[in-house]
Symmetry: C2
Subunit: 238 residues, 2 copies
């Protein structure tokens, strides 16, 4: 699980992650403090209110960030994909649980070393800042969804978001059809949208019956018309 030293040169997200802020000599330095980690689905990466000993870039896979109420109700407050950064710099404790959703490939850095590096190279801290701003944008967009959208709009929004962030497997050139795998189970989608499993399922079959999507074995979705789906997600018309 805890792997060997990373080679930044051959890193899949070298130019998309926070590392892209670093110059040649700086990346060498980072190289020396990076460790690979391969986690199975369900593996806990960070725990709410507890100190985490490392930060990480996601090389591949999907990570969910969750918060819970005392009685077990849960809410996913963020989904992180390849090239995203995990962990709160300059904070003692994690404000949420982080858990691998798929197989996840991480590139980890010991917190103190990394924060020191961030202080030293302003561009790195700036990149972290930019990433945090993106997270804030996403969070506030999701607040609008959670507070004001109907179940159908929520599910449509979710599909649009996933389609945007997952690599599309189907024929992209041939037109507007897009096929992709859902990284989340129905239960996780429910936790993301503030709904129950049953309601999520019903909305999927509704979208299917209305001809907006096709479903292949619960996890694969084919969007017939992405613009139409986007309209549903924002309730542009009936």
């Amino acid at each position: 699980m805890v792997g060997q030293i990373i080679r930044c040169d051959s890193c899949a997200v070298r130019h998309r992650s926070v590392c892209s802020a670093l110059t040649r000599p700086e990346i060498e330095r980072l190289n020396g403090m990076a460790h690979a980690k391969l986690l199975p689905p369900g593996a806990v990466i960070m725990r709410d209110n507890e100190k985490s000993s490392y930060f990480a870039n996601i090389i591949s896979g999907v990570v969910k960030l969750t918060k819970s109420l005392g009685d077990g109700r849960q809410q996913i407050v963020g989904l992180q994909f390849a090239s995203d950064f995990l962990g709160r710099p300059f904070r003692a404790n994690s404000p949420y649980n982080a858990e691998a959703v798929t197989d996840v490939h991480l590139c980890t850095f010991e917190t103190q070393q990394f924060e020191k590096l961030a202080k030293e190279f302003q561009d790195l801290e700036h990149r972290l800042f930019e990433h945090t701003l993106d997270e804030l944008d996403a969070a506030q967009e999701w607040m609008l969804l959670l507070g004001r959208k109907s179940a159908e709009e929520k599910v449509a929004s979710f599909l649009v978001m996933v389609a945007r962030r997952m690599q599309s497997v189907g024929c992209h050139a041939a037109g507007h059809v897009t096929r992709f795998e859902l990284p989340l189970s129905r239960a996780e989608i429910a936790d993301f949208l503030g709904l129950t499993i049953e309601t999520v399922s019903r909305q999927f079959t509704r979208l299917k019956n209305d001809g907006h999507i096709a479903i292949e074995g619960a996890r694969t979705v084919v969007v017939q018309d992405m613009d139409r789906l986007r309209n549903i997600s924002e309730s542009v018309d009936g």
Copy 2:
């Protein structure tokens, strides 16, 4: 409305705002580029998706950040109080509307000048970063509320949050009683909690009938037992 040059020395939030990161010579420089603004309730400060020409520290008052759907449904995605910072550094357009809720006293900075200053003084950018992290924490906490809490829990959470951020007017020393003015109307509270005006009103009278709070003329609330209210807001018990 657009006022004169600010005197940082006598500023009420000098040591709590992002300015606290600045040393003597730096603050002098900021002093030169600051302009006071006094806005009435309802005044629009920034508009979703539009460029804003200035950043601002809130000297006094409350500002709401909102996002809307095409058909008018609205969600408050952030509340900003005295010493908070307004505006998204390093972003072309505002991701939300910002509107004065009360009379608001702002200390504004022209965007380009200010971003230049942030680039120059790393501590200032770092302070902005910290503030953004706080905003993200608040946003994710609110996602849990919007997605998973009942109407009663939402209203209780709102009261706890306001009590924490507004200056308490009542007797604080005498025990657990706390009296404060709500900065938001029922309609605004509804937009903040993802509820309707009617539901908010009903939950207020419920909390009142159950003896958890007293209400004086719609805008003033007296919390009888803050811990009890906090328990309701997190559903610690029945």
